[in-house]
């Protein structure tokens, strides 16, 4: 655990504020993600609540200085609860004209703009399709502009190290980071440690990056360019041990936890796809937990190998995004037919087709519900925050194993890459998962069901006396023999549906946040949690009676949802799609719910939710 020393007292004014939104933006090659992550870790360790939003371009490295190449990292950190990465930005660090052009609209009036003046040459302006230099043409007069020559200053700071210009320039992001550490009175210990570790085979680079960061810090101190620095005290989080983690990391750890609790080896069949690949990377490092990660030749082999692993007694899972879900549908049907446990993770992204690989969306709900031939119901779960991804992984595994059924988790790019402080549970506080393989040949029949769960027995190959055949052809209940009889088919279709519906008895009822009844109920799911929670708070402060139900179980829906819907005069469903949960709610409950639909590859802002509530309730 790192210790944080007290910030240095200085002559200028130090203002204590509640929260701040900081955004770094530059070329993909400028190290914006590293800079943002480092700042995040430092403020997290200091005790602020926070939420982050990394905004990547789709290309690996678009031509330097162009608009498609802009990469950004935003963090909101606070001494009170943080639900979103922030609607508008207090401090924008722009490394070049393209970054400035694409991001300036989000900077608050009179916000701080730190611009790298060395990157605003005529050539750079042309690449960004900008006709006049914004640093000189007074177009930025509404902001507090700090033009800083990052290349020049970084080179000056590193001159005694004897490095070439290109290497020195690559350290300029640490100069900018040092400036931000000064601005927010944070110490640089943690980042020093990170630099030492990351570049340990290149001591000269360790020195260069540390010096650059110190130089940035000292620049603010010495030049008195900034008259005010800010202090955001630690937040009052629930007591416990915390760590920072992203949604994908949390998902991976959740599955390891589930496999440990169930006493089963974990098998992941996966194929690289943005934004899910990190889960494969993460799990591939946990071999000492016995985790088997199989990078298959394609999405279909990824899921079918997982089905083979489930058949053989593993906790089996597969991870992907929208296009991969489309490829996996036939195999999902097979998993439903053979009634084996399997968890399928869809980290949703902008679509359709290749769509927007690095932008978030939540438009795969109907695909998850219905995207298979014939009647093929599957339970669907969705995490609400990065940390919740851990708990959803455990819950999905529990359901899959208990009911002998494939389960879909719908996460999204925003949750996957976004980070927040997470209260680490004690291992004993993670719910246990009971698993029982069939062993007794006496009375064994492959489709003889548990009367409560309707699950069939899990008889894995290698168990003497339990030899049997399963497959995708319709089968007779109980015996599992191939069967084409009309009444048997209807019976089996209804049993498969009843199995899913029965899960509703096994999941919590919903309790609305905010008011238990009143003018408006917001029903939402997935990563809209933050914006809705924040928006709800401010709307209720105005006196409206508003409730918020955030669904984690989308199929089956919680058993009291219909009753809850009826307690409010209006129902609003904000979604990053064209109204998919909206369609499901309207169809199932005959409720005249209305949608608020944003399909821009960007999460909802708190202000958008507030405005919509205002529009509805007047």
């Amino acid at each position: 655990m790192a210790t944080i020393t007290d910030p240095v007292v200085r002559a200028h004014k130090r203002e204590i504020i509640e929260k701040a939104v900081l955004r770094f933006c530059g070329d993909s090659g400028d190290g914006m993600q590293i800079t943002g992550s480092q700042f995040t870790n430092t403020v997290a360790l200091y005790g602020n609540d926070l939420a982050t939003f990394p905004d990547y371009p789709a290309e690996i490295r678009a031509p330097a200085g162009t608009l498609p190449g802009v990469s950004g990292f935003q963090i909101q950190f606070s001494s009170s609860d943080v639900f979103t990465p922030g609607d508008s930005v207090d401090v924008l660090v722009a490394m070049n004209p393209a970054a400035l052009k694409t991001n300036i609209k989000d900077l608050k009036m009179n916000g701080i703009l730190i611009a790298n003046s060395d990157a605003f040459t005529d050539n750079d302006l042309r690449k960004a399709q900008v006709t006049s230099n914004p640093l000189e043409d007074h177009s930025l007069d509404g902001y507090r502009l700090f033009s800083v020559g990052l290349e020049r200053l970084t080179r000056a700071a590193l001159q005694e190290l004897g490095l070439d210009a290109k290497t020195m320039d690559r350290c300029k992001n640490f100069f900018a980071l040092g400036m931000c550490y000064w601005l927010y009175n944070r110490t640089m210990d943690l980042t020093y440690k990170w630099i030492e570790d990351k570049f340990k085979t290149k001591p000269l680079l360790v020195e260069a990056n540390k010096m650059a960061m110190r130089a940035g810090y000292n620049y603010c101190e010495a030049t008195e360019a900034f008259q005010v620095s800010y202090e955001i005290p630690p937040a009052k989080l629930t007591p416990g041990t915390y760590r920072n983690l992203s949604g994908n990391q949390a998902l991976a750890m959740g599955f390891v936890a589930a496999s440990q609790k169930a006493g089963l080896p974990l098998f992941l069949g996966s194929y690289p796809i943005t934004p899910a690949s990190d889960i494969l990377h993460e799990l591939s490092m946990y071999k000492n937990f016995g985790v088997m990660t199989f990078q298959a030749e394609d999405e279909i082999a990824a899921i079918t190998s997982a089905i083979g692993a489930a058949y053989s007694g593993a906790l089996a899972m597969t991870t992907t995004s929208g296009p991969g879900m489309a490829l996996k549908t036939e195999a999902m049907g097979l998993a439903i037919m053979v009634e084996l446990p399997l968890v399928i993770c869809d980290i949703q992204r902008g679509g359709p087709s290749t769509g927007l690989p690095t932008k978030t969306e939540q438009a795969d709900l109907l695909q998850a519900m219905f995207g298979r031939n014939s009647e093929a119901p599957i339970p669907v779960l969705a995490p609400s925050t990065p940390g919740d991804c851990f708990w959803i992984a455990v819950e999905a595994s529990r359901i899959a194993l208990k009911y002998m059924i494939p389960v879909i988790i719908l996460s999204d790019g925003y949750l996957a890459n976004g980070a927040e402080p997470w209260r680490i549970p004690k291992v004993e506080d993670i719910p246990g998962i009971q698993v029982k393989f069939a062993t007794d040949p006496v009375g064994f029949l492959p489709y003889k069901r548990d009367p409560q769960t309707l699950a069939r027995p899990w008889a894995i190959p290698g168990t003497p006396g339990l030899e049997h055949r399963i497959g995708g052809i319709e089968k007779q209940d109980v015996t599992g023999n191939v069967n084409y009889e009309p009444m048997n088919h209807e019976k089996m279709v209804r049993i498969r549906a009843a199995k899913v519906e029965g899960i509703a008895q096994d999941i919590p009822e919903v309790v609305p946040a905010g008011d238990p009844d009143g003018d408006l109920l917001i029903v939402a799911w997935g990563s809209t949690y933050g914006a809705v929670t924040a928006g709800l708070k401010s709307a209720r402060a105005k006196g409206h009676r508003i409730g918020h139900v955030h669904l984690r179980h989308l199929n089956p829906l919680p058993r009291n949802l219909g009753e809850v819907l009826g307690r409010y005069r209006q129902v609003l469903v904000p979604e990053m799609n064209m109204g998919q949960l909206l369609m499901l709610l309207r169809a199932k409950f005959l409720v005249d719910a209305q949608g608020y639909n944003k399909i821009q590859g960007q999460p909802f802002k708190q202000s958008e939710i507030e405005a919509k509530i205002e529009e509805i309730l007047g």
Binding site: N41, L45, T238, R243, G269, K287, T304, S312, A331
Partner: protein
């Protein structure tokens, strides 16, 4: 294969109570019979067998085998089987598939499974047609063949299945024939003994949709002159009077007649070496079926050993456990930078 102290198994132990529904006269009956005769002799407990299939007439196979069985989806058998082998490397996994299932929709999974050398034994029933869907052509149907979907003849040249899998560096490659019962059983025994991936093409007659596809090789009079038996360490010799043989001339194979006044004897013939690590040798043999005037080789074209994928994976896991100690969940959850809130 060592025999363990377990009950002696018979053919009957591997027969299910399900009524076999292949068409009367189908070659699959013969294959089923051979497999059910060989499995009891392998000294492997019945519960260790897993018979997996894709979709097709071939893929009905698991329902008739009294073992663990999984009838999956079209073409995906190799991937499901890979998941089984990685999870439980000690299981005996066999895959029943066909020319369509393995080489059309399943082509990609086939070559990847084989290049990984996952220890799965593939029995590919090649009847050069799509039987279950009633008569369309397959990737092994001859050029110009008129079928339900190609009434004016196919426009594509077929795969050479064994050439293809040799290209994927398959460690065991063999061919047998449904009606050559003894040869089929012998080939199956050799297949069972091989540790890594095995790909066996079984020439099979679909008497309903492609009757006679292999009669050139299987009819009593034809077979002697059109088939050459490969036996490791023995010369490639065939013919009614054992007077025809195959010789390697540079990089080409040639058919030669012995004792024809040309002075050639058995000693001049190519001696089969199934362990030849160079896949080019087996590839040459695989080309013979497409070369006019040449016999079709049956038996084991290639049999050499390399590490199985599932063993490399499990060794890797054991190595990491050895280096880092068994996984500690609490340690994992608390990894990275943590801080206390009081």
């Amino acid at each position: 294969m060592t025999t363990t102290s377990m009950p002696v198994l018979t053919k009957k132990d591997f027969q299910t109570d399900q009524e076999v529904r292949w068409c009367p006269g189908c070659g699959d009956y013969a294959i089923l019979s051979a497999v059910q005769s060989v499995f009891p002799e392998l000294g492997i407990p019945r519960e260790k067998f897993v018979v997996i299939s894709g979709i097709g007439c071939s893929s009905r196979f698991p329902y008739y085998m009294n073992t663990f069985g999984f009838h999956t989806i079209h073409g995906r058998g190799p991937a499901v089987a890979t998941g089984v082998k990685i999870t439980h490397p000690e299981l005996e996994v066999w895959l029943a598939t066909g020319d369509g299932d393995s080489l059309a929709i399943g082509g990609n999974h086939t070559i990847h499974m084989l290049r990984r050398n996952v220890g799965i034994k593939v029995l590919m029933f090649n009847n050069k047609i799509y039987g279950l869907t009633k008569g369309q052509y397959s990737p092994t149907s001859e050029f110009g063949k008129k079928t339900k979907s190609t009434p004016y003849g196919t426009a594509d040249t077929p795969f050479n299945p064994l050439g293809l899998v040799i290209g994927a560096n398959t460690s065991f490659v063999a061919r047998s024939v449904d009606v050559f019962q003894q040869h089929l059983k012998d080939t199956l025994k050799k297949t069972a003994a091989h540790k890594g991936s095995a790909y066996v093409e079984i020439l099979q007659n679909c008497n309903i949709f492609n009757d006679g596809a292999w009669f050139d090789l299987t009819e009593k009079d034809a077979r002697v002159d059109h088939v050459v038996h490969l036996e490791h360490g023995k010369p490639l010799i065939y013919g009614k009077n054992r007077d025809k043989g195959i010789r390697l001339k540079g990089m080409e194979l040639e058919v030669v007649h012995l004792g024809n006044g040309n002075g050639l004897t058995e000693k001049d013939l190519l001696v089969h070496d199934e362990t030849n690590p160079n896949p080019a040798y087996a590839f040459l043999l695989a080309q013979m079926e497409d070369m006019p005037g040449f016999p079709t080789p049956i038996g084991v074209l290639r049999s050499w050993n390399r590490d199985r994928y599932e063993d490399i994976m499990s060794r890797q896991i054991q190595d990491v456990i050895g280096k880092r100690g068994p996984g500690d969940l609490s340690k994992l959850l608390n990894s990275g930078d943590t801080w206390e809130v009081r």
